[in-house]
């Protein structure tokens, strides 16, 4: 058997020390993706550092900022009263992800770290630059119905599968990362990467670092919001396209608009230009349509996923329409 060591600690510093010493070690939290990857032979860590006992589960509001421990489960976060009340967009995105059973196991940090669901990444007999750099991309010219329309590269057209992350990028979250010398904080939008020439790197977490918490600033986006996930069945299916939309509407004028898409890029895809267009405008269907058109700038299909060029803007319009209609 492919043996690996298993160690457990309840101290963040110890965990960081362990991972720093061993380049082939991996943290494990909920394990809802890592275990699959190990079973399929996609990855083979020689040491699993179980971080479930680290004190990183707290969800609390401090000085108008929601602090979410990286080990809070997806279910706990979705059911948290502060989240329900002040960040309902995040709640909807969480509830759209995976299945109830998986959400109970999956953690916030683990959700951010999950790998793509591209079939070529999982089948070790097929080429995949993300799994085996230099082996080629099976999805280009192959089955790419689920794949990226934004920011893809010649090396990789995979998408990030998370729903939660789409809401977080729209909500201007920040990621707090611990390392042996202290902590650093980066914007959520800078956490995940585009594939470029290094598709094996999903994000900017450095070796030896650990996500410890998220910080989400309070906002006025808890009245007009929607998370729309278009998928092949009603639950337990990855997004063909998903949209996180939130509007701060005052006197029929959009003061703030937040828009992000899932299932379209190697990272949660924030639509800044479309947001800027909506700012100061009336929340009309015509303006939503224009915003959707702007959002699609630079989109490119790869054959089987060409339908997303229509589904994505339609979904933006629908998400904004539902968000506006809420009161």
């Amino acid at each position: 058997m492919i043996n690996f060591q298993y160690v457990r600690t309840s101290v963040v510093k110890t965990a960081l020390g362990l991972i720093g010493k061993d380049p082939k070690a991996s943290f494990i939290a909920g394990g809802t993706n890592l275990i699959d990857l190990m079973k399929r032979g996609v990855t083979a860590p020689d040491k699993l550092i179980d971080i479930n006992y680290l004190p990183l589960k707290k969800i609390e509001e401090i000085d108008h900022v929601l602090h979410v421990g990286a080990l809070a489960s997806n279910s706990e976060l979705a059911e948290n009263m502060i989240v329900k009340d002040k960040f309902p967009l995040l709640m909807l995105a969480l509830q759209a992800g995976a299945s109830a059973q998986l959400r109970n196991m999956a953690t916030v940090g683990g959700n951010m770290m999950q790998r793509t669901r591209c079939a070529y990444f999982y089948d070790t007999t097929m080429p995949c630059n993300k799994r085996a750099p230099g082996s080629g991309c099976g999805a280009i010219g192959g089955y790419n119905r689920m794949h990226a329309i934004f920011g893809a590269s010649e090396a990789c057209i995979a998408v990030h599968p998370s729903d939660m992350c789409v809401a977080l990028v729209a909500l201007d979250a920040k990621v707090v990362i611990a390392h042996t010398k202290g902590e650093r904080k980066i914007n959520f939008i800078d956490f995940h990467r585009l594939a470029g020439n290094t598709p094996e790197k999903d994000n900017n977490l450095q070796k030896g670092e650990l996500i410890v918490r998220l910080e989400i600033p309070l906002n006025n986006l808890n009245k007009n919001f929607h998370y729309l996930k278009v998928r092949d069945r009603s639950s337990y299916a990855f997004a063909l396209v998903s949209v996180a939309a939130a509007l701060d509407i005052q006197n029929n004028i959009i003061h703030t608009a937040r828009l992000a898409m899932g299932g379209v890029a190697h990272k949660p895809w924030r639509l800044i230009a479309a947001e800027n267009f909506l700012k100061g405008k009336n929340p009309t269907v015509a303006n939503f349509e224009e915003a959707a058109k702007i959002a699609m700038n630079g989109a490119k299909g790869f054959g089987e996923n060409d339908f997303k060029l229509k589904m994505a803007p339609n979904s933006i319009i629908e998400a904004l329409t539902v968000a506006k209609a809420k009161s």
Binding site: M1, I2, Y120, T125, M126, D232, R233, K310, M311
Partner: protein
């Protein structure tokens, strides 16, 4: 814990929910070892070498068996024979083909050792692309069924109103929850016991006896509980023979349970299909011609055909009908009947085309069907044994609120959603086979019935118990029906919706015989003919009486009739105008299947068929990358079966009128009709909602959006 059961509950319900019911992989056999298969990663060619040194040296490994150290299998040495001979040659017929079995002392060690086996190949060009092969004249097509012609060929071409359309279905996989496999225990005296997952213990017993050339009575097959099969366990697969070979080779019991991704390649599928339908009618809505041409996918190493075009021959009154059916052998694993089998494939095309014609005529599709309902079976030129389809149309239409439907597509809108209604018919033969049942009536008031029948989930034991209970006036709690054991009196495999009719008839006959014996015994003891059997047995000093009866295949009258079960499926769908998402929002399925013997399990059959139908219509599609010949969505995250949230409340209505031509219970089968036609009802409803006709299943959001 107490359970409350009533007489209609499943007789094995408590055993199943408490874990007492044992499925094949759960049997504890002393000294059990574990097999894991090494599979081909190329699609066609030859094995040039198998390096099993590292695997053999891995901890716990007992053997690596392949064609290179092929043990003697007597049945393989005979000439010919189409079923794949596992571990027999260096030939590779498809990607994922089992090439070797690694046996170890634990499952984990066998799994790891299997990854160490290095296979070298000489690759050859291959073809797995069904859609491309249809129009490629260099790809071989085989006649799958004798062409059928009634009246004038292609009469639709001269009809007042004509229509010609093409329909496509992808590969679907059975994928029951329970994985396939077997426990094989070959003993030195050439006696073999297996715990199998099979729809027919006698069929499995015969296959094993044939392959290894040992007497049938040396093969014991046990398969009491089966965790779903849907047709995939209607034959013994090479992987089962491989396990028996390994057990014989090692002289140890070996268990093999394949993985979910292997469920896509080793145990068959519903083949991909392409169908062309030409249909003609008079302006006032009488059908004048139907031409149905179908192509199905098959394999190069074994052939597979099914009844794709059957329904088109007799479902509607039409003087001129011709059908043809071909199969295209591809470098893929061989298909096998999947619930509804070919008839469900054919019904999608025919019932879509009928709806399209009704639309072309500006007729209500229900009215169009009623107008063309045949009085007799035009193929055999004889009446139907029973057919209450007009009554079924009415009951279903009333229940779903068919009068809410507008004939003009796109008429009903609710916000961003469009609402539509669809209807479709299903039909399947209600034939019956021959089975033997032994009945043991005991003085303690109990009845034991035995037959080598199977229960893959529909509730065989429950149905049989209810038949016997009614006839013998014995409470169900006092009746035991034993099945799934090859040493019991023979019964055919559970397939083609025939078990209740076939085995039930034998139960009926054995009960009649037992009652007659009781009457005789009562007379001998000077008792009243109506005396309770317990008293009669006691009075005669008998602990029990036994009868074994083989029921005749058919009622002699049956040859004068065509026997079919019918179903009508009504659905309401909601289609999102911007995203293309389709939700089935209402379902009414009406079964015209004779007497309902077991109301609860019968309803479950219809509900299961509807859920399977949602999958066929909206979500299920096994995808191959034709550059590699490999399935790429071979898991339950990516191969989408419907989830609870996809399934609305399902109304099931039964006509529940006996058909005594078919069997003494008056019951016809319903496993297949529960699914047949359902997908067309959904497609027809999507058209009614949107005006978009989707002729390629499944109807995913992208197809609706792009139509």
């Amino acid at each position: 814990m107490e359970f409350f059961v009533d007489e209609n509950d499943r007789v094995d319900g408590i055993a199943k929910v408490t874990g007492k019911a044992k499925f094949f992989a759960e049997y504890e056999v002393p000294g059990l070892t574990y097999g894991v298969l090494v599979t081909s990663t190329v699609t066609k060619g030859k094995i040039t070498a198998i390096d099993s040194k590292a695997a053999s040296n891995a901890p716990g490994v007992l053997a690596v068996v392949s064609h290179l150290n092929k043990p003697s299998v007597a049945g393989y040495e005979q000439e010919g024979g189409s079923p794949m001979k596992i571990f027999y040659t260096d030939q590779i017929f498809y990607n994922g083909q089992p090439l070797a079995i690694v046996v170890a002392d634990t499952f984990e060690r066998a799994t790891y050792a299997a990854t160490l086996v290095q296979v070298s190949y000489a690759k050859e060009d291959f073809n797995t692309d069904f859609e491309k092969s249809i129009s490629d004249s260099t790809v071989k097509k085989l006649q799958g069924q004798t062409p059928y012609k009634r009246g004038i060929e292609d009469a639709y071409k001269t009809a007042e109103v004509q229509l010609e359309q093409k329909y496509h279905l992808p590969v679907e996989t059975h994928n029951p929850m329970e994985l396939h496999g077997i426990i094989a225990d070959w003993r030195p005296n050439d006696q073999v016991t297996v715990y199998a997952k099979t729809q027919g213990v006698k069929a499995t017993q015969n296959t094993i006896a044939n392959v290894f050339k040992i007497p049938v009575d040396k093969v014991q097959v046990n398969s009491e509980f089966v965790g779903g099969a849907f047709g995939m366990a209607l034959r013994t697969w090479p992987l089962e023979i491989a396990t028996i070979i390994a057990s014989k080779h090692l002289a140890k019991p070996v268990k093999l349970v394949i993985t979910r991704d292997q469920m896509f390649t080793m145990v068959g599928n519903r083949p991909a299909s392409y169908q062309k339908i030409g249909i003609g009618a008079t302006k006032d809505g009488k059908l004048t011609g139907i031409t149905h041409t179908a192509f199905g996918q098959s394999a190069t190493y074994e052939n597979f055909t099914e009844g794709v075009v059957n329904m088109s021959k007799f479902m509607y009154q039409c003087e001129n009908v011709n059908t043809n059916y071909y199969v295209i052998p591809l470098d893929m694993g061989v298909p096998i009947w999947m619930r509804g089998p070919g008839e469900a494939t054919g019904a999608f095309a025919l019932e879509s085309a009928i709806d399209e014609m009704a639309h072309a005529l500006d007729m209500d599709p229900l009215e169009f069907r009623i107008k063309n309902d045949p009085e007799i079976d035009q193929v055999q030129k004889r009446p139907f044994s029973s057919k209450y389809i007009k009554e079924a149309y009415k009951l279903g239409a009333d229940k779903i609120g068919w009068n809410e439907r507008k004939n003009k597509p796109g008429s009903i809108v609710d916000g961003a959603w469009q609402i539509g209604y669809g209807v479709s018919v299903g039909v399947f033969g209600a034939g019956r086979g021959r089975a033997t049942v032994k009945g043991i009536l005991k003085a303690d008031g109990s009845l034991v019935l035995q037959s080598a029948a199977s229960d893959i989930g529909p509730g065989t034991g429950t149905g049989m118990t209810l038949i016997a209970s009614k006839l013998m006036n014995i409470p169900v709690g006092k009746i035991t029906f034993e099945l799934g054991d090859s040493s019991l009196p023979p019964a055919p495999s559970q397939g083609g919706s025939a078990t209740l009719s076939t085995v039930g008839s034998a139960v009926n006959d054995v009960c009649v015989a037992l009652k007659a014996t009781i009457v005789e015994l009562a007379a001998n003891a000077n008792m009243d003919a109506t005396a309770n059997f317990v008293d009669v047995l006691k009075k005669n000093n008998l602990a029990m009486i036994e009868k074994t009866i083989q029921s005749s295949q058919n009622n002699p009258e049956a040859k004068n009739y065509s026997m079919y079960s019918f179903s009508i499926h009504f659905v309401q769908v909601r289609v999102h105008q911007l995203t293309g998402v389709v939700k089935v929002s209402k379902i009414v399925s009406v079964g015209d299947a004779g007497t309902i013997v077991s109301p609860k399990t019968a309803r479950s059959q219809m509900v299961g068929g509807a859920v399977g139908g949602i999958g066929m219509a909206l979500t299920e599609e096994a995808l191959l990358d034709h550059r590699y010949g490999r399935y790429i969505n071979n898991n339950f995250a990516d191969y989408h079966v419907p989830v609870h949230a996809d399934v609305p409340e399902i109304d099931v209505i039964f006509i529940n009128k006996p058909d005594l031509i078919v069997n003494p219970m008056g019951a016809k089968g319903m496993g297949e009709i529960a699914l047949i036609g359902f997908s067309a009802a959904v497609a027809n409803a999507v058209f009614n909602a949107t005006g978009k006709r989707i002729r390629t299943l499944p109807i995913t959001p992208d197809k609706v959006l792009e139509a």
